[in-house]
């Protein structure tokens, strides 16, 4: 399948909770192929979630291995079906953007180390412990499955070094 068009907010599917995948059949295999093609096609894209191409199912793909920030520390191409974060540690800010929310970025806090459990593309239960940029990418894509955009998680208008609370 060719790469699909990335849907842009305010498309309603982006704010919907996605349904779990009941069984891994041909339809899901084709969805996964579409997601991977879409990710490969997007300039510098390191992940795509199913709702971004209009499918409200809990499937996303991540691959940070070709990115500057992720090339040293990654698990290559991850196909994640019904993913769940089973452990999360640490917190760090990163300025994020999203193909579904063009021309805007903001500071988002994410766990620095996460363990995520999911079914892989062939339906096997898998568990990955990711850190750094890969962990951020996984959390960003998984948020899409809950209808959460990075806009919902912005914690600071600016650098965070100038919070007014500290200003007396």
């Amino acid at each position: 399948m060719p790469a699909q068009k990335i849907l842009i907010y305010p498309h309603p599917v982006l704010k919907k909770m996605c349904r779990p995948v009941p069984a891994i059949d041909d339809e899901i295999a084709s969805l996964v192929a579409d997601l991977l093609d879409t990710m490969r096609e997007g300039p510098g894209s390191v992940g795509v979630a199913a709702p971004q191409i209009g499918v409200s199912l809990r499937v996303c793909v991540v691959d940070v291995s070709a990115s500057r920030l992720g090339k040293e520390n990654n698990h290559g191409q991850l196909v994640m079906i019904n993913p769940e974060i089973v452990a999360r540690q640490g917190a760090a800010l990163m300025r994020e953007g999203c193909m579904s929310v063009p021309d805007y970025t903001g500071e988002v806090e994410r766990g620095t180390d996460i363990t995520v459990r999911f079914l892989d593309g062939s339906g096997h239960l898998a568990e990955v412990t990711a850190s750094g940029f890969e962990a951020v990418a996984i959390q960003h894509e998984m948020d899409h499955l809950d209808g959460i955009l990075f806009l919902d998680r912005i914690v600071s208008l600016k650098t965070g070094l100038f919070r007014r609370k500290n200003y007396k």
Binding site: G44, S45, V46, G47, L69, M94, R95, E96, G97, C98, M99, P102, D103, T105, F133, V136, A137, H140, E141, F150, K158, T159, L161, F162, R164, Y167
Partner: protein, 188 residues
Amino acid sequence: MSECRKDNLAHFAVTIISKDRPGIVADTTEVLFRLGCNLEDSSCTMLGGDFAMILIVSHEKPFTKARLAEEFRLLQERTGLNIHVRTLHDDEICPVKEEGELCLISVYGSDQPGIVYRVTRALADRQVNITDLNTRLIGTVEEPVYVLMLEAILPDGMTVDDAERLLDNLKKELNVEIGVRTITPVSF
């Protein structure tokens, strides 16, 4: 917005600096709303005991600066808010798209004259474009510390290390800490 050129709109820059109190934004935007203006872009923050607003406002043509200024004059009579309006020319409306690396440059150390000037002159001379900047005086009365934080886009070909080296002499000369780190947004 990818398409920023809107020939049917008149654009204005509106600046307001007023003693801080709750309601400044509401008072100002109420006027804009009533007139049918669009708030296209804005940056507002507390500065000292003032609240400062910088707004880019548009309205469908025909619409004059005089109309906007008159409404703001009436607002000033009611609320004391002092508002300045300037007409924007067509070539000021679209944001300049730059491709280089976005950096945060932090500068801090004992307060002294010239920190902002010396740092920004060094950057300007190498075509580093500042996109955001704020400063604050912190520390104690005995030992005031000046903090300058700025975001800038490096010109094509300049790396974070280059930028750091560029400021290295100033670091020694002014005896301040200077750090450069990339904050180029990650896109998913």
